[in-house]
Amino acid sequence: MEQPLPAWSLPADAVDRIALTSGWPEHVTRDWAWGGATGAGVRVCILDSGVEAGHPGVGEVQESVAIRMDREAVIVEPDREGDVAGHGTACAGVVRSFAPECELVSVRVLGAGYTGSGPVLLEGLRWAVAQSFDVINMSLSTTKAKFAVLLHELADSAYFRRTMLVASAHNMPVESYPWRFASVISVGSHEQDDPFAFFYNPTPPVEFFARGVNVEVPWLGGATFVCTGNSFATPHISGLAALVLSKHRELTPFQLKSVLYLTATNVGGEA
């Protein structure tokens, strides 16, 4: 049975109930944020083309599912095909390079044809949000306005369930979603080589820039490619988010975003 909605207010005697589980330091530094962290205990979902499990640059993948539609019904089944493009493996590899001990789960939303891929993408995200992952890496966007409302609802429910949705910004001048929503972290590319260099953008909608040019990433068949695109910058932020969350389990997406802001290269992050 559904819980009745609470009244969204804070009586005087309830202030203690929402006390934070741990205090914040006077200065949030990178060392406080993720020093010594490995990603252990954090579950990261790669919503993409599948992931090649066992690739030396990826390692173990805890679970792989594929999403498809059978008329109106959504089918979620174990993924036996693996990566149908190479991109999901690349993203998983970037996350793994930051968080060697995080749990990786692949949700494949590609391969069943382009027509109908919109609903598959949407249902893949819906499934991922329901699984309460800590981080969902989403190098995907749609230009269809009819999906925007549903994506917005999903992004918000992820935000309230403590799932950080990290989405690629578009590097073409088109309206697309979900990266434009305030409840996700949107990521574009910078040209520097340092994987830990990332910048806060004071003029959104794109909130962060991470390494996205000439990035060495795992690809199909155990290979390594050198790749460029916002879709490779995105897992850099997902990887950092996994590190921070493994050290500070209590952080909400709002707090996590604040930590990333405070530790960004152009804010105070080099300290």
Binding site: V84, S141, N171, E191, W219, F225, C227, T228, S231
Partner: protein, 208 residues
């Protein structure tokens, strides 16, 4: 009137398809030249079959690949189409699976590939690829922006091509528009027929 009618039909439909194809060909030609690349191609999404089809090719594969089809949601081109995100992959020759897939969709095994979605209004119409730009310089974001601009141009051309094809299919079909087109063709040079149409127009105007 007959000449004007014929010109209107021709401009709207019949000659347009060839002109738009020439425009697409010119876009891949310029893209290839500007990037100093070995080849450039435009794929159109064929919705009824849910496949990507080579629509224009410059450089390697020109003349042999147009019309060839492959799946719409696998491989690099499929990923770009579904996710609406551009992608650049380099140093790709070492992977046999990629090589095989790339050869099927390009006619040769490239060392590097840039792919960008062709987005028009809310729709993804296809994919533009540029293969094997010179590898002596690392890739820069400025090139990604340039690629995006070519994609915008190609998307507009591709939209025009699709419109022309739909219009032609409509005119060649069995519907009311097709009947009108046949009527327009039959009226060409037929003075009595044109007088009849003019009289009909008068009647319709009066009944408004």
């Amino acid at each position: 009137m007959s000449d004007e009618l014929r010109a209107a039909v021709a401009a709207g439909v019949l000659g347009a398809e060839e002109q738009y194809r020439a425009l697409l060909q010119s876009i891949v030609g310029v893209a290839r030249a500007i990037f100093g690349a070995k080849a450039s191609s435009i794929f159109l999404l064929d919705e009824p079959s849910d496949e990507l089809v080579f629509e224009a090719v410059a450089g390697e594969g020109a003349g042999t690949l147009v019309g060839r089809r492959f799946p719409s949601s696998t491989g690099v081109a499929g990923w770009v189409l579904v996710t609406h995100q551009p992608l650049v992959v380099e140093n790709v020759a070492e992977d046999p699976r990629f090589g095989r897939e790339a050869a099927e969709s390009t006619g040769f095994v490239p060392k590097a590939l840039m792919a960008v979605p062709l987005l028009y209004e809310e729709r993804a119409l296809g994919v533009l690829e540029v293969l094997d730009r010179p590898q002596d310089e690392p890739f820069r974001l400025a090139e990604m922006e340039l690629l995006g601009q070519f994609a915008n141009q190609a998307a507009i051309a591709l939209d025009l091509l699709q419109r022309a094809r739909r219009a032609r299919a409509t005119l060649e079909g069995e519907g009311e528009l097709a009947a009108l087109a046949r009527l327009a063709a039959a009226l060409e040079g037929n003075e009595a027929g044109l007088q009849l149409v003019a009289a009909l127009e008068d009647v319709l105007n009066q009944s408004d």
